[in-house]
Symmetry: D2
Subunit: 274 residues, 4 copies
C-alpha cells in the first residue's frame, strides 16, 4: 500500500497530486426537497459604485443564502436523532435544540479532518457508468470492491464510495433518483470504525425506501450519525479520483464552524501519493 | 528549518499537530461595516417536527445568511479592482461583473491551498499583547521579525502575521479599530512572491488611513489582490500557533467554490512538525 | 355607475364588501426565472424554547427571504429603464443606482393607493376560463370589454385585467406560459391616464415575444413604468371579484417602503358598493 | 363625532386626507434583540447588466431578508402563547407549530383591516414630547385621554396610542428603552372589544418589567394576542396624525399573507374626514 507523504519545505506540492472533491456552487444545483431552495448568491456591491472615491481602488461583494445541506457538505451529528437522542446519549430538548441551533453536537465540534482516505469505486467495480436509480449497494459489494482494489478499510479512515451518480449532477430529478447504500453497507463501515463516509450522491443512503429492520428511511443516517458518531459527506465529486485509480490518499476536509448548525458546506480534497 | 511531514498510512496524525485558525461563527461577531449584518443562522427544521413518522429517525436543519466577507474568510481576486481592472488586466464590465457575481477571478478559481506556511508573530516581536489601534506594521518590522524567528519568507509561501488583535474579537468596536499592515509591508510580501497572506484582524491593512502614494485606503488590498494576484485571509486565530512557537507549518485552506463570489468563509489549518 | 362609499362611524363594514386580491405566499409559488427562488419562510423561534422562563407567556417568530417581485407585488418605477433612463428623465448612474437600491424612483415613493378601481374581465368577455398561453390582449379588446361591462376607464383609475391565468397558480410552468397584454393594450391604458394597472398573471405583458415597434420584450413594462410612470401590479387574484360581477370598486394597495427597492409584495383589496 | 366617508367615483381622494403610518425600511432601523438583524435589502440585478440586449428596455431588482417583526409590523395571533396555547384553545404542538410556520393562527388568517380607528395622543395629553423611558401608560390615563379628546373607544375599533417614542426612531438604544402600556391599559382596550391596537414603540408594552399579576413580561402580548385575539401593530408613525388633531379616521392595514408566519410588515394608513 502506498504511503502518502506531504512534506515541507522540500519544495512545492505538485498540484496534480491534489484532487478537488467539491461540486461548484450555483443556483439551481440539485437539492434535497427538505432543503429547498438550497443556495443563492447575489452580488450587490459593485466596483463602479465607489470608483473614483478612493483613488484607483474599488471593492465588490455579495450575499449568500444557503441551507447547510446544500451542495457538497458534511452532516454534523446533531443533524440526526434516534428516538430523539443525539449521538452519545444527548437528549433532544430545549437545552440542546434552540432557535439558533444545537448547543451540543453542532458542526463546530467536528475537528478539522486530516485523515487517511480510501475510495471504493463501486461503479467501476460493477462495470457501470452510474449505478441504476434506486440501486442499494450492499456490505458484500463494498467488501468485494475493496478486495479487488487491494485496499483495506481501517479504523480512522474516511471511506468514499463512488456510485457514478455524479454524472447526473446537471439533472436534479435524475440525481435525486440515484443509487446509494443499503443499511448493511452503513453497518459494514461502522464495524470498521471509520471516521467519516462520503459518496457522490445526495444522501449516502438510497432516498426513499424504508429499512424493514430499523423501521426508517435513510438508515445510514440513523446508524452513522446518531448511533456511531460517524460523519457523512454528500454530493462529492469522485470521478477524477476514480479515473486516476487513486484509491488511497490523504483526505482533508475542514467544516466551517457555524456554531450550532447541523452541517456545513465543505470543499474536501484528496492528496495522492507521488 | 524543520521539515513538516504528513504521511499515510503510517498511523493517525496526532491532533496536537493540527492548529485550527478559524474563529467560530456566531451572530454578532465583528464585521466590517460594508458587510453588515455579516452572519446569521436559523434552525427551523427540528427533530420533534417529524419524530414518530419515520421510525426512530428524525432530522433537523437550518438556514445560513452571510456575507462572503464574514468571520474568517479569504478574499477572491475579483473583490478588488485598480482603476476598474481586476488582476491580470481583466476589465470590470458587464461581461465580467454580473448580478450573480464575476465571470472571472471569482472565488471558485482559487485552488485548494496546500502550501508552506509561515507565522510572523509581530505582537510577540514587539513585546505587546496586541499592537495599538491604528498601528501600521512596516516592511522593516516584518523583516526583523522573520530574522529573529529564523524563518525566511519564500515564493509560494502563505504568510500569516499576528498582530494580537484576535484578543479583541469579543469587542467589535475595538477589533475594528485594530492594527494592520502598512503599504510597504504588503509590498514586502509581494516582492517575495507569496501565494497568500493572512492576519488576525479585519482587513490585513489598517482600516482608515489613506496611503499617500497609492491615493487609496486599504493599500494592501489594491497591491495584493488587484496587482499581484495574492489572496488575503482575514480574521484568523493565530494566538495558539504563536504560543506554541510554531513558525513553519503546512498551511491548508480550501475556499468554497461559490461561483462568481468575491470571497469565501474558510477554516484554515496549520499542520506543524512532529 | 354605482358609488362606492366607505363611511365611519356608521357601523362596521360588511366583510363581504372587501375582496382580497393577494395570493397566499408559500414556498414554491410561481416565480419569474429572473427572481428565483422567490420566497421562503423559516420559523426558528418556537414557543417551547422559552416556555417556563417568563410565566405563562412564550413567543415564536421566523425569517423571510424574498425577492421584491415574488407573489402578488407592485413594480416601482425604478424597476424598469428605457435607454438607461428612469421615468421623469432620471438617469441610471452611480448616484441613482446603488448596492442598497435606488436613490430615486424607489418603491418608497409610491404613495398609499386609495383610488377608483375598475375590473375588465377579459376572460369572461372572451368566453374563456383562461386565455390561451401566449394570447395577447389588444387595446380593441379592452375597449370592447369596457363597453360591454358599461364601465369607462378614467384618469386616476387603477385598471385590473382578468385573463383567467389565476387558475393555473398551482402549476408554475403553465402559469408562466400564460396570456398577457399586447403593447397597444398598455398604450390604451396609458392614454387614459390611469394611476396603476394590474393583472392575474406574472408580468402584465405576455412573457416572451419581442414587440417589433419598441424592439423589446415586455413592452408594457417600458411604456408604463419607464415612460408614463404607471405602476404595474402582478399575480393578482381576480376570480372572486369577476364572479361577483363587481367592475367598479374602491381599490386600496399600500406598498411597503423598502427604501430603494424596485418593488414590494402587496395585499391589494377591492371594496365594493353596498 | 365626524363621519369618515370615502366615496367613489365622486372624484379623487385628496391625498392630504391619507396619513401614512409606516416607518421607512432601512438597514439599521431599531429592532428588538429577539429579531436581529431585522432587515436588509440588496440590489443585485442592475439596469446596465442587460442593457442593449432587449432594445431600450432594462430591469433591476433585489432581495429582501427580514424578520416578520421588523419595522412597522403586525403581530399574528400565533406569535404569542399562554401556557403553550394559542388564542381559541389551539395547542402549540407538532401539528400546529412547524418549521415553515403555524398551521393555525398564522398571519394569513388576519383579514384585511378596514375599520374605524381612534388615536389616543398620550404624549399630548400628558404634555410631553415623548413619555419617559420605561413610563407605563395606565388604563386610567387612556380613559382620561379619550375623555379629553372627546372620543369613545368602541367594539371593532383599532386603537392607536401615541407615546412620542417615534421621535427616537433614529436612536435604537433610546427607542428600545421607551415607554409603553401597563397591563391594565391592555385590559382596558380588551374590555372594549377592540379589533387591534398599535403604538409608536417597539412592543406596545413597556419592554422589561415583569407584571406581578400575570408573572410575565410584555403582559399586553399575552392578554391581547393569546387571550383576546386582538392584533398588535408596532413601530407606527403617529406624530403627523396627532399634529393634525385627527383622532377619528378610517384605519386600513393589509397584512401580507406569509402563510404560517407570526407577523407581517405593514403600511397602515389613516383616512381622515374631509
Amino acid at each position: 500500500m502506498p504511503k502518502i507523504t506531504v512534506e515541507w519545505p522540500a519544495g512545492q506540492l505538485d498540484p496534480r497530486r491534489v484532487f478537488d472533491l467539491e461540486q461548484p456552487r450555483i443556483e439551481g444545483m440539485p437539492i434535497h426537497p427538505s432543503h429547498r431552495p438550497g443556495y443563492l448568491y447575489a452580488l450587490h456591491r459593485r466596483h463602479n459604485d465607489t470608483y473614483g472615491q478612493d483613488g484607483p481602488r474599488s471593492s465588490a461583494s455579495g450575499m449568500i443564502v444557503c441551507m447547510e445541506h446544500s451542495g457538497t457538505h458534511i452532516d454534523a451529528l446533531c443533524h440526526q436523532a434516534g428516538d430523539l437522542t443525539l449521538f452519545g446519549d444527548v437528549p433532544v430538548d430545549a437545552a440542546t435544540q434552540t432557535s439558533k441551533g444545537f448547543t451540543q453536537r453542532g458542526v463546530e465540534e467536528i475537528p478539522p479532518i486530516v485523515a487517511p482516505g480510501v475510495l471504493l469505486d463501486m461503479a467501476g467495480h460493477l462495470g457501470a457508468d452510474a449505478l441504476e436509480p434506486g440501486y442499494a449497494v450492499t456490505a458484500a459489494e463494498l467488501q468485494d470492491c475493496s478486495t479487488r482494489q487491494r485496499v483495506t478499510v481501517e479504523a480512522g479512515d474516511v471511506v468514499l464510495v463512488r456510485t457514478g451518480n455524479e454524472r447526473h449532477w446537471g439533472d436534479t430529478e435524475r440525481y435525486l433518483a440515484g443509487s446509494g447504500m443499503a443499511a448493511d453497507a452503513s453497518r459494514w463501515v461502522a464495524d470498521r470504525g471509520v471516521l467519516a463516509v462520503g459518496a457522490d450522491n445526495m444522501a449516502w443512503d438510497v432516498i426513499g425506501p424504508r429499512d424493514p429492520e430499523l423501521g426508517c428511511t435513510l438508515p445510514g443516517h440513523l446508524l452513522l450519525l446518531a448511533r456511531h458518531g460517524i460523519y457523512i459527506i454528500e454530493n462529492l465529486r469522485l470521478a477524477e479520483l476514480a479515473a486516476a485509480r487513486q484509491y488511497r490518499f490523504l483526505f482533508i476536509c475542514t467544516p466551517l464552524k457555524f456554531v450550532g448548525a447541523t452541517g456545513s458546506p465543505v470543499r474536501p480534497i484528496a492528496v495522492v501519493p507521488e
